[in-house]
Assembly symmetry: C2
Homo-oligomer: 499 residues x 2
């Protein structure tokens, strides 16, 4: 067995377990940990490296999820068999006596790329209770309408779809999106709409044209992890503004923005990600006045406003944008499904023009077949019909989630009660051992992302993000009951060890 | 009429006409050139600004293409009517007395974004003779097979396609691509294949993880403009290596790479873009030995190797890559069609892992419906059938192009005779006035990109890139005959003015 000589790097922004996972992965890929070899037990490795057992467990879990390790109950953890191609190449390289060394070649900016929480395998797939975000109900997908829309696009329009050269997007989709937005009070013409590959793409393109290394972005904390990842990848400096039940605290934004020059404010006013809070009318006015005062652009990520189950629809910030300083982004990921990869941005021409160039440089344009099918679905009211269906389903699941939490969670646990969206945000009392709870939940096949993914400064270990949209009510009840039991167990344990 | 006070910026990398176009656009968008206002005649404005008339014409053409100006024959050029949304916003802003000012906020790196030549409107759409690149034959598209593949993917697999979370791509497509590549001698497993949105995306992702501002990239000159745009957008320094009839000159690469540290070599060995030259076997060996000597990664853009009309298939550089230092990228843009937006990358795990993170940050993953349909097409041999069809069509068009050039072009004009691909590369004698020819060709509705798009240093004004894949043989003959006539006219003119 190879001696494992891992030293944590304090400058590395990754959590310890990801650093350890990376170290083990490098050894495996360099064939220094051969296939079939047994790894030390987590307790043993934790002791020898001076790390917590949880850290070692999470690192092993990552590599199991990545197919590099295999776990056999009662036997231990082993290096997985390599895929045929890799083995062949490795052996060829061994003949030549050399293997190309990549790490020193990677760009400094590549070090700013972090693993999105959605790619961290916490539990064996598929988990029995899957409360991870970004999922939709699979039973209510509009398969028939989609199938017809794609078939018609190909049968009737393929030559035009193939010949299209407009990186702003397929004109009928831009027209349909513009009509939809005008109906929601956002004044825009089709030529002001840029079709992109979903909300993440909109954020990334704005980062590309507005942010240089060291620039400041102000965003909600907790806030959407994908935005934080994109801003971090752009080597920007993220300053967080706190969130309460009325959304982001504009007084805090004001304090930050008056003290330092920021290039961008990122916000989710319709359903704050991850808490679900709706930005109050008073704060909307204050935010726009502030943005005008300090002349900062505001990115309005309107990812979730159509999933509202009670109360009147809320007008976007963009509807009040007189000067053209709000960058408005929407997506079909939540209202249809994420793997469609279509979203849109409305922004002032000087910015949109630059985004268009950045977009061409990145991947030219979005698939026109998908755009044409989506345009047809929109024109025929298919999206509205689908929304009417899923709003009922998701409202029932939100009710089930809130009911189960009220019934099962011990005193001291609190959570948000959103009026829409797809998830709730839960806060554990400080007496709960969050690390131990995460390991226990994974062992119980409960997939529930920890709150730290939604903070850029390591906070959030007391929070859980519980998405309900893709989970049936009975499963919600059972999963929350089990999770509540684990919370009780790990509260008691910390209490005991504190005594 | 507003006084036009444009001063060329020598530090600006854009050609003069694009600078002038940007200046006029800013005035229009700030409402300082009101809708309906008449612009000065090109001759008049050229004289007052000390620019050539061609520069002013091209700037006007750009803005006409962008819908900001309109031209009325015999009357002149006018500022176009603004779209309704823009006008409304402009008037709201006028009430408030302010409009948000973007230019000062744009990132320094946004200034490195240049307009791809495919987006520069040289002629009124649609041109009668369209020799622009990146186009495929619209009459031979496999519409029936595609329609069935999409319909089956949606009818039979939609829940799995919606639930997929793997940013490497849809597993059956990665398997199909790996099988295809193994059959071509490239040892790879599905987990070593990353599905991306076409070849441009592969280049951009590699730039994101390998290049910091100021890093050096060595690429062929002339070379693929999309690669140059992506490397420039990454603020890298591009050093060019010349190309001859055997592809890139490896002796020149050696001189460059031994003199300075480069982070990447970008090359198109199977069909050099834009000349179509095949990298000789001797140079392939020399290139890999050199890359090993100086430890530089090589990006092999294999965009076009399947479009070969004579001779044996050529093995990719990647088939001889022992150390894992070749980054191999392929695309379905040429063999099927560009707006499908699907390509793939095979690279060593440490690099691919970082690219995967960059990819998630950018736009999460490619559309799974499209990936599933493409996987079905590949599994059923639909791509091979389509290739057999289009190879015959394109071979005939290549023959038509070469025949027409031989028949019509005056002495002194030379061109490449590729054995595959979709375009030829033509060199005009220095006696031809390239600027005047470009304007005359546009007026004759002949769309033919000038060679300068394929150089990073302003060379190429004596070259034309003539794509033939999307043009019927009779149209090729007529278009080339007309172009040849214009070449004659503009040779004679320069000769006369030289006397």
């Amino acid at each position: 067995m190879l001696e494992l000589a891992f030293t944590p790097d304090r400058r590395d922004v990754r959590p310890l377990y990801r650093q350890l996972g990376g170290y083990l992965r490098d050894l495996i890929e360099a064939d220094r940990l051969p296939a079939g070899g047994k790894l030390p037990a987590t307790r043993e490795l934790a002791a020898s490296l001076g790390l917590s057992r949880t850290t070692v467990s999470l690192a092993y879990d990552d590599l199991i999820g990545a197919g590099l390790l295999t776990a056999h109950v009662g036997q231990g953890t082993f290096v997985a068999a390599r895929p045929a191609g890799a083995a062949q190449r490795a052996s060829l390289a061994a003949v030549d006596g050399r293997q190309f060394v990549w790490p020193g070649l990677l760009a400094a900016r590549a070090r700013a790329l972090a693993v999105p929480p959605s790619l961290i395998p916490h539990v064996a797939e598929p988990p029995r209770f899957d409360f991870r975000g970004g999922r939709v109900d699979l039973d209510s997908l509009p398969a028939g309408e989609l199938k017809r829309a794609f078939a018609e696009a190909i049968a009737e329009q393929l030559p035009a779809l193939v010949a299209d050269r407009d990186p702003r997007g397929w004109a009928p989709l831009r027209e349909a999106v513009a009509r939809y937005l005008v109906a929601r009070g956002i004044a825009c013409a089709p030529r002001e709409v840029l079709i992109v590959n979903g909300g993440q793409h909109a954020i990334d393109l704005v980062a590309r044209v507005l942010l240089d290394p060291g620039d400041t972005v102000v965003m909600e904390q907790p806030g959407y992890f994908g935005a934080a990842l994109a801003f971090t990848a752009a080597q920007a400096h993220i300053v967080g503004a706190r969130v309460d039940e009325d959304g982001v605290r504009v007084d805090e934004l004001a304090r930050i923005l008056r003290a330092r020059r920021a290039k961008l404010v990122y916000t989710t006013p319709a359903a704050q990600s991850p808490t679900g809070a709706i930005l109050s009318d008073e704060r909307r006015r204050a935010l726009l006045a502030l943005a005008d005062e300090v002349q900062v652009p505001v990115f309005e990520d309107d990812y979730d406003s159509e999933l509202r189950y009670e109360g009147a629809p809320i007008a976007a910030l963009k509807t009040r944008d007189r000067a053209g300083q709000v960058i408005y982004a929407g997506t079909f990921s939540k209202v249809l499904f994420p793997t469609l990869r279509i979203g849109y941005v409305v922004a002032a021409p000087p910015l949109l023009e630059k985004m268009l160039l950045a977009r061409w440089n990145t991947d030219v344009a979005s698939s026109t077949i998908t755009q044409a099918a989506l345009a047809t679905l929109l024109e025929r009211g298919g999206l509205e019909r689908h929304l009417r269906r899923v709003r009922k389903i998701y409202a029932a699941r939100l009710a089930a989630m809130l009911g189960a939490l009220a019934e099962h969670m011990p005193d001291g646990v609190t959570w948000t009660t959103p009026r829409g969206g797809h998830a709730i945000w839960l806060t554990l009392p400080s007496t709960v051992d969050g690390d131990a709870l995460a390991v226990a939940a994974a062992e119980a096949s409960i997939a529930v992302p920890r709150g730290d993914a939604f903070f850029v400064d390591g906070r959030g270990s007391d929070n859980l993000h519980l998405a309900f949209a893709a989970v049936a009510p009975a499963t919600i009840h059972e999963g929350i009951a089990r999770l509540a039991q684990l919370v009780r167990v790990h509260t008691a344990r910390r209490r005991r060890s504190a005594r």
